[in-house]
Subunit: 328 residues, 4 copies
């Protein structure tokens, strides 16, 4: 490949997710493979504005494929939301001779990249890194698979206690706008009920369903609730409401929280990150820009950043039905 | 061994803990080894009152050594707190020909056993099963080692995010009356501060210490807080207070909660449970009663139930010092 | 759905794989949902011949979704390879009023099912359960995702030692005919070389590549070798050959072996198993037969058993290239 | 504390074990706490001879408490076995102004330290780091607890397959001279037989015991064999012998190997390492030397290096009995 791109910058932005380090490694090594330079930008767009960056070689990403979080750190940047901030960021890239940018992050990070590309005609490629799996244009985002396993393992543990004490547990998992985690974790953990933002069953349906379970002799139950679910005001109020209406149940609440975000990435997240890193760099080298790398049918693809940002990932309706059948 | 005891009952009582199943298995198999009968009592003292029990053979405890929770289930019993309740329980044992009882549980369960022994002269042996490690007369309780590892793993995950975002995390771990979990988990996870019920540092000391960390360039920090710590009203208020006084910090709170209680027991908890189960049965067969089996210096010992209940397990002062040195 | 099928049998056959229990659970519960009967057949075709089966209800599959292995057990059956054996098996199904069969297993199990269907016109549906992922007609088989993670975790551990001692490790992973595990695990674990049955690089290429690594300053290396790789006679001879030719290297061999086969299934394997179980039963109820349920582009599909058996799953060539780039 | 020691060197030597990094961290931070310098020596005695060392601050050991292996690497040194080699090593320390040495390792490492101390009157303190737990003067060595859990987890996985296929598995665990790992792992994993170097049951006893199991209806079994066990020539020959004599059994062999050596240390190993690191440095500062830090009854102690090297850690006879009872 011959290309005018001689130096690529890579950054992580937004909430961290397992697999980000594997993606950084892949970007860096693909640059080395194609004999172009690679520079790591710290703390996302804010670091970019401040010129907080360092050159990276194949060696500098040794032994990070299995680490959670991001060695390049992440941060939110108010300044990048202003035209002046973005100007500084662009100056910083020009000054450091960086010809193109790979941004690993979510929706917000891509919006930033898209505007940046519009304003300066600067080549940007996105890699979807977020545990929520709520990005249009890709079946899977980096970190999602790991988060599913972390949450399922945690619920397996809680079920030991639930069964031992005949209790009803409400367990909140991540997903402010999307129920992907809740739905898959719920099916994977054998939850009796799954509450997601995409489907408001209403409080009555929930009570009814729990009552049905109780009658058929289930003495312990797990209800998985997505952070963004609107059935109750929040998981604690939900639990309170049920407790008031079904005093027989001994109810507990657990919010899994940030535990879901970190940890050693699964094999799948590592492999996906490696593939996406290669694709991101080679797409830039082919002269393309303003795309997000995604995966569909186990093959990599490209989605214009704008569509990735504006589109909406959809919940798997069939899986909702599977869940209903499993809790017969 | 010749003994008048021909049938032993085993139950779990109070909060469940990993290793309880391994202890049940050990009690059942030791009975089989000594060719006496063993009966499993469901749902602790409540099940005893209701006569909810079943005969168990070496085969009926197959493949449970690695399971969290308790196959015999656990429950609190208001009825057993009354003399009438205990009378029913005793009748139930007599009716079923059970000559002695092994109770796996914590403080409350032993108190019940002790009173029961006093009132009816009925042979009872206790095995300490609780993740809190707060029982006098034993260095380690069943489930404690597992809970430490579960909590440390969870904090390892959170640290990935803390480092990636330069955040300060307050993490609440279990321990209403005792700081054993918090102290060991804090040292094991490399926490910057550890707040335990046994030591009230006060809010000022906490701010001071965090300020010191900040000045020396630490950008992310973990504070481990025992459930029962009294520095703030609770972990959320604590975090709020710090946030108000140190606005530079980006603070998050995670309550590990019931995740710590379940899960596959560690090797150590399984071995300890096996040893204690043997000891409990053989102590009864030797004609002794009203003791708790404990471990000290890697050797099993016996403590009168009364002392186990009234004594107080002490926090390891040396470890507090180690923690201070580690956060230099 | 109205259907002539009133009772479905389910069995596991061939090597066990994580997710088989989740699939059994799904088959049983989908039968319950559609108000038809379900019967579990022990020890695969051999148990079928012997009439070793038991009726199963939604309750009988409680708490198995997270267990490795198969509660229905598995076995090879010489007898089923004979016409007489299959006749006995058919008689056994007729006698027990079983109208259709769901077989969870691999190639060999499907061949059996196919012949059985041919000879007796008996409805059979297959679910691909094998860690090797070598079944035509599905992107993923049950257990494959779990095996990948188990192997990657093991190699992460070994890498600690490899780095600490500047050693070269040859690690054999499962895969007699297919390199799927080796290739994905190799990429996921950041292996320096990956040897798979589909590509014979030859011993010289291996030496050359290791020499290149050595020269660029890599002091420790991991080579992942698929069981069925033909570069050396076996992994031990391979290591010996390299040791003779590169005496500078301190070489060790580890055969991961059966550890890869068991364990708690990942979230993905549990969800896949649940979906496939539903699909298998509902396909039978729709009057279709002689298919294998598969997944492609995250959607379930059906492949005639004959094609599933005769077709060949192909290795991901792009991933071989990714691996090469990563070890630049 | 006032002391003539102003700079301490720390190294790891011999086989790596989980917890070594936590111990390095503790040594470094305790030096920082006492405001003395600390220097990390790479690759054990060999690195010492070559002067391969670097100054370490509290910051340089950040985020290593949870990593397996050793960041200081380890190596064997033929040269240090000669007087000339040790002379070079001593010169190297003098030249770098290092006043005392903390050696983290096993028997061999301590022997080196002891001779070194004898020849040059140089202050040396040992910290027992080895997964084998075979050091006299301490109940527990660093890495032992982690290795136990790694092995038990692996066997849990194998048991899934063993039960599913009614197989007999021979599983070799580490322990060339000592059966600590095998005995504890065997009890923890619920093995039917445990073969250790300390007790030669003989092949006949093994056959007899397996036959007994078979007769009582056990269809699957796990035999845990210590590397150094002498019942058969090795685990493969052992399996072959049993297969020949008990053709009914379907037998498999797994050698866990180096997987046991790495991985994230358990909470206990991290805490123990932290405590031992503090003790090692403070012992030197108190003017003492030529001791190994150990733990007994959960309290730290000191054993003269000579006794640590010459003494023999003993197997827990009571636990052998527990194992026998458990397999009734």
């Amino acid at each position: 490949m011959t290309s005018t791109i001689k130096k690529i910058g890579v950054m992580t932005s937004g909430g961290d997710s397992p697999g980000m380090n594997a993606a950084i490694r892949a970007v860096v090594r693909t640059c080395a493979f194609h004999k172009i330079k690679c520079i790591g930008i710290y703390r996302g767009y804010q670091g970019l504005i401040e010129g907080d960056m360092v050159e990276m070689s194949a060696r500098s990403v040794r032994n990070i494929i299995n680490r959670g979080g991001t060695i390049l750190k992440s941060a939110r940047s108010q300044e990048f939301r202003t035209k002046e901030g973005r100007k500084k960021a662009h100056d910083s890239l020009v000054k450091n001779g960086v010809d193109a940018l790979v941004v690993i992050g979510g929706d917000g990070s891509f919006t930033g990249g898209m505007i940046f590309n519009e304003e300066f005609g600067y080549p940007v490629i996105g890699i979807p890194g977020t545990i929520d799996n709520d990005i249009f244009g890709t079946k899977f985002t980096l970190g999602y698979d790991t988060a599913l396993n972390t949450a399922v393992e945690a619920i397996d543990r809680i079920r030991d206690t639930a069964s031992s004490h005949d209790r009803l547990f409400f367990i909140e998992v991540m997903g402010r706008d999307a129920g992907h985690i809740a739905l898959n974790v719920g099916v994977g953990a054998g939850a009796e009920e799954i509450l997601i933002p995409e489907e408001d069953l209403g409080l009555d349906r929930l009570l009814e369903s729990l009552e049905k379970s109780r009658v058929t002799g289930k003495t312990s139950s797990i209800v998985v609730v997505a952070e963004g679910d609107k059935t109750g005001e929040n998981v604690f109020q939900l639990a309170e409401y049920v407790e008031k209406n079904m005093p027989d149940y001994d109810i507990r609440v657990t919010v899994l929280g940030h535990v879901q975000r970190g940890g050693t990435p699964t094999c799948r997240d590592r492999v996906l990150a490696s593939r996406m890193g290669v694709k991101a760099v080679e797409t830039l080298l082919e002269g393309k820009s303003n795309f997000m790398v995604g995966i569909s049918n186990d093959e990599l693809n490209l989605t214009p950043l704008e569509r990735a940002v504006k589109g909406k990932s959809e919940i798997d309706k069939e899986l909702i039905r599977v869940s209903d059948i499993m809790t017969t």
